[in-house]
Symmetry: C2
Subunit: 710 residues, 2 copies
């Protein structure tokens, strides 16, 4: 991988190649190497797909023995081609690939799609071959898609260079969803579901092993592509965190929704991903932090991703903060309201005008959800269109969720919903729950172009994604606080509490001051230089649980008490742990906090130094309430992280106590994130545990810490 990254960076620096994806995706001339007429073969399938989609550019099949294939003049070999193709697809055995790429370079081709498998996903030998492939591509200035991929399907640009089996007899739907998938099967599955649901794509790219072009290169391309409203990515690993972070920032700046399905999330999943591709599973918690920071919306289901994307496909500007639920049955209303509550999406409050429009139709009060079956016309369903129109027109309703259950005249119900959707072009999602009885309704909804799914689960995933997007953070810049030290290269090895506290102190994070003493008298003297009250701890590398051997004394009011505590402590430790070497006694200011937090830094193999914040002390083990963010972070990001902690309710006061100084914690987080940024080349881990949070206005104090450099 390091080789690949280094090469990539070199290419980027030399030629500003980021534009080349645009060139590859707009080919005037393409070549199919290994072309045939046989649909069972890759080379046949590719040509059938290309013909089906009416590609208007020049098509150059390469076949050693045929003069013409499916209406196109064929050529014996790559070197015989009459012009340089913009994009070539190689449907040839693995062992011929490197030479073919070399030939492509020699005739001036810009990009090559490598379908063959047996490269880095298959073991050491394949990995070596992939390195050769990359070296040749670099030498000849050819970009590679794949290997081990199914290719490119671009309804927007009217071409496919792909082996996707489901498209041999069915053209993909053209639309505004961009799709990038590490798995060709997942890509084919989504395109095929799209055909069934009449949901269209702009460009679909199967990126395979990403030897050269990374999926993020295509994300970049789609961010800039005005025909793509939403970017869907299915990957089993993030290989180039630098590209990912750059694309994330660009997508955020461009306000373009990006849905990420990162599979191989879990231990079991990662084991499978490893055997399938050469991806290393990234740490999910850190990925969560990155996505949270940049507003990338994670999804974990293919169908849910497609329904979510369908929303932006049809309504590029939608912003779902609240939902109106309409159903012909109370059961449909109740089920949907439950599920929206599960995902914390609020029900809309109808505006006065919508209420006025709906009130005459009902005996009782008008409420959201609306049980259409409870309207005054009984079960006749005569008001379906009126009610849908009123909800769609309501400016306080961001989305109408129409839950179609069993109901009388269901076909007519579908027609009325469709008519309302035609009349008012506001976001509407219909969930059709019955089976065959609803076929007529489904046809009307499809004819009216209503966003539709049979799965309440998929609907909820989509609404969750839309709502998350509406709540996404604005881009915020991390501003370096004034007065931070000039970065210095750190040394290697462990840092103890004192060392960490010196570091934190330089970055303006408050620590409880302390002095090391060797004797009771020294300890009493040390206390004079510190603020009362005091805590005394034994210093010994041999003792990990100091409390258990009497090695910690808290809340000592004055110097004499400190002296007495050291005398007693020395005796107790000697009695309980005669083997332990005692290096002295630490006298510190004793701080009583309202709450213990954990702050930390962790060097992630992919994303670099990340900040951690979470519950500290005993809570840390139980709550697993830790969130991550790449360093440095803005003040806004720090605040949002704190709000999202499970223990956030305690910030208002612990057990009836005063509100806590959350602002001071956010400030400490920002400072620590800059410390991480500055020491990004040397620091491995740093823990502050606990960071004691005091009452509002009183700040927070790091009372213990450790770090690892190197």
């Amino acid at each position: 991988m390091m080789g690949g990254s280094a090469v990539m960076t070199l290419i980027e620096e030399q030629a500003g190649r980021s534009a080349s994806v645009v060139e590859l995706m707009n080919p005037a001339c393409v070549a199919v190497v290994g072309a045939s007429e046989d649909r069972r073969k890759f080379g046949g399938r590719i040509l059938h797909l290309l013909n089906n989609q009416g590609f208007r550019g020049r098509i150059l099949p390469v076949n050693p023995v045929r003069a013409e294939i499916l209406g196109h003049q064929a050529y014996r070999c790559i070197m015989d081609l009459p012009q340089a193709p913009d994009l070539v697809i190689l449907a040839i055995p693995r062992d011929l690939v490197v030479q073919a790429v070399s030939d492509c370079g020699d005739i001036g081709a810009k990009g090559v799609i490598v379908v063959a498998s047996g490269f880095s996903e298959s073991g050491d030998e394949g990995a070596r071959l992939e390195q050769q492939l990359l070296a040749v591509a670099r030498e000849k200035a050819v970009r590679i898609i794949g290997p081990n991929c199914v290719g490119v399907v671009s309804p927007a640009n009217g071409f496919s260079l792909a082996t996707t089996v489901s498209l041999v007899d069915r053209a993909p739907v053209k639309g505004h969803i961009g799709l990038i998938s590490q798995s060709g099967a997942v890509m084919g599955t989504m395109i095929d579901r799209g055909i069934s649901q009449n949901v269209g794509f702009s460009h679909c790219i199967s990126v395979g092993n990403q030897a050269d072009l990374d999926f993020c290169d295509f994300v970049d391309f789609m961010i800039d592509d005005p025909g793509t409203h939403v970017i869907c990515t299915y990957v089993e690993g993030i290989r180039r965190a630098d590209l990912f972070l750059r694309a994330a920032a660009r997508a955020q700046a461009a306000n373009k929704p990006w849905l990420l399905m990162k599979s191989g999330r879990t231990e079991a999943g990662a084991a499978s991903a490893f055997s399938h591709t050469a991806s290393l599973a990234s740490n999910q918690a850190i990925l969560d932090g990155v996505c949270r920071q940049f507003g990338i919306v994670q999804v974990d289901d293919v169908e849910g991703m497609l329904v979510a994307a369908s929303g932006w496909n049809k309504y590029p500007d939608m912003r779902v903060r609240s939902v109106a639920v309409l159903s012909p049955s109370g059961g449909g209303c109740t089920i949907a309201a439950d599920r929206l509550s599960d995902i914390d999406v609020p029900l809309a409050r109808f505006s006065d005008s919508a209420t006025a429009a709906l009130a005459p139709l009902f005996d009782g009060p008008v409420r959201n959800p609306v049980d259409i079956g409870a309207a005054n016309d009984g079960a006749a369903m005569g008001y379906v269109e009126t009610i849908h129109r009123a909800a769609l027109q309501d400016e306080q309703v961001d989305l109408v969720l129409s839950v179609v259950t069993n109901a009388p005249v269901l076909t007519e119900v579908g027609k009325m919903i469709g008519d309302a959707a035609r009349a008012v072009a506001q976001p509407l999602l219909a969930v059709v729950m019955p089976g065959g009885y609803a076929e007529g309704a489904r046809e009307h909804l499809a004819a009216a172009g209503v966003l539709c799914t049979d799965s309440l689960d998929a609907a909820m995933r989509a609404i969750d994604a839309w709502h998350a997007w509406a709540q996404r953070p604005a881009a915020s810049s991390a501003v370096r606080p004034q007065g931070l030290p000039v970065p210095q290269p750190g040394g290697a090895g462990r840092l103890d509490e004192a060392g960490v506290k010196r570091l934190l102190g330089r970055y303006g994070i408050r620590v409880n001051e302390g002095r090391v003493a060797s004797t009771p008298d020294e300890a009493a003297a040390a206390a004079q230089a510190l603020r009362a009250p005091y805590v005394v701890k034994v210093i010994s590398d041999d003792i990990s649980h100091k409390t258990e051997v009497g090695g910690v004394k808290l809340g000592l009011p004055d110097g004499p008490a400190v002296r007495a505590a050291v005398v007693e402590m020395a005796a107790q430790v000697r009695r309980k742990r005669p083997d332990a070497r005692v290096d002295g006694f630490l006298v510190q200011e004793f701080v009583r906090g309202e709450l213990e937090l954990l702050l930390g830094l962790k060097q992630d193999a992919q994303f670099g130094v990340t900040l951690a914040v979470g519950a500290g002390g005993t809570l840390a083990e139980v709550l697993r309430d830790v969130l991550f963010a790449p360093c440095p972070i803005s003040r806004e990001s720090a605040g949002r992280l704190l709000e999202r902690l499970k223990l956030a309710p305690l910030f208002g006061g612990v057990r009836g106590g005063p509100p806590l100084d959350v602002a001071a914690v956010a400030d400490a987080m920002v400072r620590l994130s800059w410390l991480g940024h500055d020491l990004r080349d040397s620091l491995q881990e740093l823990d502050i545990n606990p960071l004691l949070v005091l009452a509002d206005g009183a700040g927070c104090v790091a009372v213990d810490g450790r770090a690892l450099s190197g």
Copy 2:
């Protein structure tokens, strides 16, 4: 409601009516009051449904003006009927219902289905009418289904008396799923989905307002019905907890799976349920506890419930503890493995024989999930049947999950999966992810009777339900510990710490002993009677946060220290809260626990006295880690509750400390549950917070408590 319950109990006692549901569900003669030929009317629809399903009994339409309807001789009124029908359905306006039920009683009808709405779900007037209806039914010894329901669909017994719109032209599928639904629309939706998926039902009952027959009466019926393999219930409230608990215990004893979808779970949902039916939303946490105790499996989606039920429909004895995942693509494998991991369902480890059968087909090691596309025949998919057979035959695999993604020759893939399923009758679930491209595969799977869904979400819900069922607790009896006091009726009002501790002490729950003192000297004397060290607390109804006014002193080593603490405390409290009346000082044994738990009792309006166990202290507020169980509980149930707490990992030791005395906590829970049981008529609430848990062998101690009786 109380009226209804009292009536019901009376009927049960008088006539042992629980058998009557069997009679109602096996009618030899039925009457349709308000019959017509018009499918748009209830009375027409009912008769069409009845005719469609080839009911072999006698059909008696009642219509004031028609002599014959749809081939059946009609009668002018109920009193004119030539024989007593077993079951009558009333498709007549609300205001005629009470008289009609009276007439039905007079001619000796056993049961009446009331379709009309406008009863208790619609307000006070309707509620009064429902009471009248019930009174007449009781007087005439007629059982009522409804009102406000769509009726009964019984494929097993070959009849429908229902207004279900979707069945007018389509017969339901006969099978082994019993369905009871408070919502007629949800029932119709499920039956219709069942037709589309070829999944069949034994009996379906829409229970509506449950004025007389409760949904639990039908659960009881289905528990005893050998043709019903699994019971599905959709309800928006539990109205008769006594019937629910009895049915739960019977289902558990009969080992019959019961799926419960309780809607109106959440605040938003409950608001909707309230407006829709007269149900009161039950406390979800308490319902969770009841379901956990009896092995009732909760689901929250209609489609997921149907797929789960389909499993038991086809494989009544299945026991899903581990799953093998097979897919033509690595993407399918990875996605499914992730999702199984999310729901904590383990991947099966292939047996040696399965491994031996699979090994020749692959280059690399054989692992679960199996990427069929990685087999030696490349993408030819030639091994699909062999691989499915091997996995199905493996006795270490409880379920084969076949994830069908885009793949070459997909129709043939479907055929091969179907062939394997025909050859080996072990549990198999196929998820078909593509759209139209998979139609051929779907047809083959359907022809082979393979359990099938298009939704990975629904598949996961089903597997989760099957796994939960396989893990269900055996029925365990709560055994009264020896030496508990004879129950005494409690008084009304609050119990303070001392009162609660006396109560706990009588039930054998350890408390830290204490004495009340009025003066420093009395306090020092009190200490002599207790074990050192000590804690002193001020006693004052006016002070709720004692710590903040210096009203608590911990860890006092001896009598003199206790005396000094009381002197200082009296001064501090006087200074900080001069208004507070001080009633004395509590001197207690000071216990330092490893962990704080909360134990409690709560009188639930539905389920009676329930035991609560969870995180205590500050953790309680943040973790919301509290589980409930109805009192009394068995020792096994206590142990299982403790294992399920979020903080269970801490039982092994807090921050490197010793393992905790979980057995003592379980014992205290059992004793407290008997206390709750004994005082079930008077106790409203009781809290022990905290219960301090000590190291293994050292027990647990209730150090604070309060209670409310009345």
